[in-house]
């Protein structure tokens, strides 16, 4: 899972041990980035 730290704006990868916390600055608010996949939408 890839997130972005809301304070230092760095990309963060979470593992099952670290908890929800930025390993660079210790901030606990992380943002989920939009997937880079191409999304197909039907126009209705």
């Amino acid at each position: 899972m890839s997130y972005k730290c809301s304070r230092c704006k760095r990309d963060v990868t979470l593992d099952e041990y670290g908890g929800v916390r930025c390993p660079y600055c210790g901030h606990r608010v992380l943002l989920k980035e939009r997937s880079r996949d191409i999304k197909e939408v039907n126009v209705e």
Binding site: R34, I38, V41, N42, V43
Partner: protein
């Protein structure tokens, strides 16, 4: 095959007004419905978003893209054909329909100044879209004729002089009249009084007392004569729309004729 008389009152690329006669109300309505629902136009149907960091959801932008009219030259494509378009705009800038790049030079946005979304700093919209050729019956975004209507051609008869002490009230009438009382009429809006001439009511500000001052008038519908008001969304010209619409009626009539001759 019957012959019909067609007279134009107004004619430009995207809108026209004309009189057709003699036709039945049923046939007039058939033409109107065919223009709205049966003439196919290209419209964006699926969108692949590569990047959308704008403030709107992909689906909302998709809906807006679907409503952009695309030029559809008649006879070049078949129903179901697809054309791919792409868009790549980076903020701060507004993405317009004119930013769409088409893979087919025949299919282009009909207007270049339709705003799609306003992008701020650091926002970007990149996408690929498939436009498909389909009819208005399937989805309103495929309608080529957008303001299509008809009404009876009207005749104004002078039945006498207005009473000397009558209140001067306006006689409002909207549509097109066929001049039948030139003797009592005055020139308005550049239309000289001449019997048989078609005069849109705009010429006398929709008020019959301007055209026939001091006269008492009676308005009647002319049987079998219909005034059509047609406007297209830019997918094709009005001429093409009308001809294609009539074509679809003919196709269906032929199909019916063939299928009942066992």
């Amino acid at each position: 095959m019957e012959d019909y008389e067609v007279q134009f009152v107004d004619r430009s690329e995207r809108s026209a007004r004309f009189v057709v006669r003699p036709i039945t109300p049923a046939f007039a309505n058939g033409i109107r419905r065919a223009m709205i629902a049966d003439v196919p136009t290209f419209s964006i149907d699926t969108v692949r978003f590569i990047e959308n960091s704008s403030v709107m959801f992909d689906e909302q932008i998709g809906l807006r893209l679907g409503l952009v009219p695309l030029t559809t030259p008649p006879g070049e494509f078949e129903r179901g054909d697809e054309v791919t378009l792409s868009l790549d705009v980076e903020g701060p800038e507004t993405a317009y329909s004119g930013d769409l790049v088409s893979s087919d030079e025949l299919v282009q946005p009909a207007d270049e100044n339709i705003p799609i979304i306003d992008l701020k700093e650091e926002q970007r919209l990149e996408l690929e879209a498939d436009a498909v050729l389909d009819v208005g019956k399937e989805h309103a975004k495929h309608q080529g004729g957008v303001a299509v209507s008809y009404r009876h051609l009207q005749a104004v008869e002078v039945v006498g002089d207005a009473g000397e002490f009558d209140d001067e009230e306006p006689e409002i009438l909207r549509g097109v009249i066929e001049e039948q009382a030139a003797d009592a009429a005055v020139e308005t809006g550049g239309y000289e009084p001449e019997n048989g001439q078609l005069v849109p009511t705009e010429a006398f500000e929709h008020d019959l007392t301007n055209r026939y001052p001091g006269k008492d008038v009676e308005v009647t519908d002319i049987d079998g004569a219909f005034v059509f008001d047609v406007e297209t969304d830019g997918s094709f010209s009005v001429d093409e729309l009308v001809v294609e619409a009539i074509g679809t009626i003919e196709d269906r009539a032929t199909e019916l004729k063939e299928s009942i001759q066992l």
